[in-house]
Amino acid sequence: MSTAQLDTTTPTTPPGTGSSPTRGLGERSGGRAAKDLLAKVVMWLAFAIAVVPLVWILGSTLVKGGHMLLEAQWWTNSQAGITSRREGGGAVHAIQGTLIQAVVTAVMSVPVGVLTAVYLVEYGRGRLARVVSFMVDILTGIPSIVAALFVYALWVTTFGFQRVAFAVTLALTLLMIPTVVRSTEEMLKLVPNELREASYALGVPKWKTIMKVVVPTAFSGIVTGILLGLARVMGETAPLIILGPYTKVIATDLFGGLMATLPTMINQDRTEALQPALDRVWGASLTLILLVFLLNLLGRFVGRFSKVKS
């Protein structure tokens, strides 16, 4: 592609492949060719620069935290009774907390998100639809710390409840809904209208058409969106700091007591100057990155089975 472009003697190359048949227009001047080359170099460099932090951050986390994940106790023990001075213990309390909160968040945000998308694509007309769509965009842009403050103002200040894991999932739900809405909306739009019409023509009611024809057709795409949305909220830390204090022991109660998560585990130990604590920070970071990547990969994998393609 690139060499063909500088070659002015290939007028037979079809257009759009990067070649420019300049025969008859005179030779390209040196200055223009140099600029073209410079632009090309700059673009390649830009990509190289963008890759550096990713490789670097993954590399350092792997090198510094990898050995923690290789110990069996990392996956079986909690930090109960272990001070930051001592080595040992695991992250199972934090991993479990992160997963529990992720599942609860998904359970709350998926119905609202998918139904809102259904409304926007299948029902919404006129001003209300435009307002809803606008609000979804605004929700997309709400910083996680503001979502956390809102839940704090609602849950703690107004209702007088304690800071518990459920409050965290409420904040995460706010952050996940717009991602689910947008991705589901995209997928529903891709479902060919002929399918809907064929269903209506057979006398199937609209709601059944949506449930049995439209949503199943877009299903794997919707699941992809959900998994990617979940991956996004899993690494969120700000709501956890405001609403979900850390604890070293295994806890499963959403409405009482504290529940540990990987981000708060990192946050707990990051200020320590002691090596065992720092090891745990890197280990927890790596675990969290792996979880998020795994969800991303899973999402993309499921997307491959999509019946509708963008």
Binding site: S2, Q5, P15, G16, S20, P21, R32, A39, K40, M43, A46, F47, A50, V51, L54, I57, S60, V112, T116, V118, Y119, L120, V121, Y123, R125, A129, M135, D137, L139, G141, I142, P143, S144, I145, V146, A147, L149, F150, A153, L154, V156, N193, Y200, P205, K206, W207, I210, A231, G235, E236, T237, A238, I241, P263, I266, L278, S285, I289, N296, R300
Partner: protein, 330 residues
């Protein structure tokens, strides 16, 4: 097209046609009601966020003895609370601007690389790689920046301060380079790079082939083709990508909280980007442990309200730019 929300063909655009499919059966009414209800719920949530923050911020603001917008003080407790957001606004502005200055050109260049320059086999993996940057949690960026990458910023900062230290923006403030607003901005740039790239990429991929072929047929080099065909077409997309990136940078919390060294209240005001400081988000997160009285909490909520309004405006502006582009391209 009047109802461009759906983007579907004209068959359903007429409201009467659309309703004909819905037969008024119980199931239809329930399901339609649920869908509409969810939409309304989203509207309600956003409204409630604004209302709740406002209601809880007002009492504290009324008690505030200092000018909320202009004061640099932050002592929200006691009988005569004094707090203002001048420092926070400055910190947020500087870090976000630095992030934008780095991430927007870089993101656009990466998007051009992916859509115009990369060989076919590399294009998709390249896009996925940049997307992966978004998968690294904020807190990991902060910890990594402070403990690993930060030391390499010292010589850069030293060089700038040595050569251009007489410029007020670049003067030395005796703050460790990795804890300065400048470095926080650099880390923010890495964090918003994926969103800027993803949106620019999307618009560049939509540039009509006829525009590009037309430019090439007139003898343009590839770079000239990009300048006359791709960039003008993608301009609104780039603007909205930049604004969405800005929205993200404004609210980014943990990375900034970990990196920035907070200023002592007695330190003299400086315009330098090599100073410490706080952003709205980092101040709120840093104060999470002292939400004990309504007065104190209200002060932080007031700061959160300002952040909410600013991000709201930025995102709404981005949305309007995108909408306008849609209107032109259809």
């Amino acid at each position: 097209m009047t109802t461009s929300i759906t983007g579907r063909s004209t068959i359903d655009d007429d409201p009467h046609d659309a309703d004909r499919a819905s037969t008024g059966r119980l199931g239809d009414r329930i399901f339609g009601g649920l869908a509409t209800g969810s939409g309304l719920l989203v509207v309600a949530i956003v409204t409630l966020v604004g209302v709740f923050l406002l209601v809880q911020a007002v009492p504290s603001l009324m008690n505030n003895d200092a000018n909320f917008l202009l004061s640099r003080e932050w002592s929200p407790s006691g009988a005569n609370p004094r707090f203002g957001i001048a420092d926070l606004a400055w910190g947020t502005l500087v870090t976000s601007v630095i992030a934008m200055v780095i991430a927007v050109p870089l993101g656009v260049a990466v998007a051009l690389f992916i859509t115009q320059y990369a060989p076919r086999w590399l294009s998709r993996p390249a896009a996925a790689t940049v997307d992966l940057l978004a998968a690294v949690p904020s807190i990991v960026y902060g910890f990594w920046g402070l403990n690993i990458a930060g030391q390499y910023f010292e010589p850069v900062a030293g060089l700038l301060q040595g050569a251009l230290g007489w410029v007020p923006f670049l003067s030395d403030q005796n703050v460790s380079a990795k804890s300065t607003l400048a470095f926080a901005g650099v880390i923010l740039a890495i964090m918003i790079l994926p969103i800027v790239t993803a949106i620019s990429r999307e618009v560049f991929a939509q540039v009509p082939t006829t525009h590009k072929e037309g430019a090439l047929a007139l003898g343009a080099t590839k770079w000239e083709m990009i300048r006359v065909a791709v960039l003008p077409y993608g301009k609104p997309g780039i603007i909205s990508a930049a604004m969405l990136g800005l929205g993200r940078a404004l609210g980014e919390t943990l990375a900034v909280l970990i990196l920035l060294s907070t200023l002592s209240p007695t330190k003299e005001w400086s315009f330098s980007i090599f100073n410490g400081g706080s952003t709205f988000a980092s101040k709120i997160a840093g104060g999470a442990s002292e939400f004990d009285t309504p007065q104190k909490t209200g002060a932080y909520i007031a700061a959160g309200l300002v952040l909410f309004v600013v991000t709201f405006l930025v995102n709404a502006a981005a949305r309007i730019v995108i909408e306008r582009r849609k209107a032109f391209s259809e």
